[in-house]
Amino acid sequence: MMNTINLELDARGLNCPLPILRAKKSMSQLDNGQTLKILATDPGSVKDFESFCKQTGNELLQSEENNGEFVFLIKKPD
């Protein structure tokens, strides 16, 4: 099933903590149950977003790498 993307964040070229800071801000704009898509290039972002979701209670729906670019889908809990 396709996930509906409600907001997209381009964090390419940024290093931690900037992608996390921006994601936190973007998540605050979402309603419960909505999903944020993040594009990133920092290899450390894989671990960082796992840890971010664990700590904030958001759900990491997807974490994928494609030619050095990372895509994350994070859902705000219902």
Partner: protein
Amino acid sequence: MNKRMKAPERRASILAVAKVLFADRGYHGVSVDEIAKRLGVSPAVLYQHFDSKEILYESVLNEIGCQRESYVDVVVTGPDDFPSVLARMTMVYADSVIADPDYLRMEMQAMLEGALMAQRFFESRWKSFSDFIEVSLNELAQAGKVNQINPRLASLMFQGMLREVLYAKCIYHSEHYRDLSAKTLLEQLIQQFLITINYQGHS
């Protein structure tokens, strides 16, 4: 010295001893014989794990330079405004360096010796930190919340000031700063930095 040490343990012990000696005297100031002597083994044992002194040195640099502070907690655990995040990042970074001051020496020596691995220190240990300052200052300048400054230079200047504090407290044990804790000095440094860039975020 335990001669029956397993290979990974032996490797780790060689790296640990080499790090202390290289940090103290730099690449050219330490010989393989000296490292072996300090470990209580023959140089041949060292060469079983590292083909040359260069490779041993690179391995030490690699280990120390590729560590990466995690700033996720910094973001999650408090307010998002620039001074708050900067203060929390600075403390995470400083705590990490204070726990292993050899990092500072290795970083400086690697840079001054022109070691290829020196780039790792920049990429892993402080690029994310200086990027955060640079990008934030760019945005704050556009919003009129700081002076029109060169964000790149300001960011590098902050790194320089931060290192001065860390060197004073961890390496030189400077008398001038003896009565002030690292935390107090770092808080003062951040205040000074915010005043200098004329941060107006609260208005």
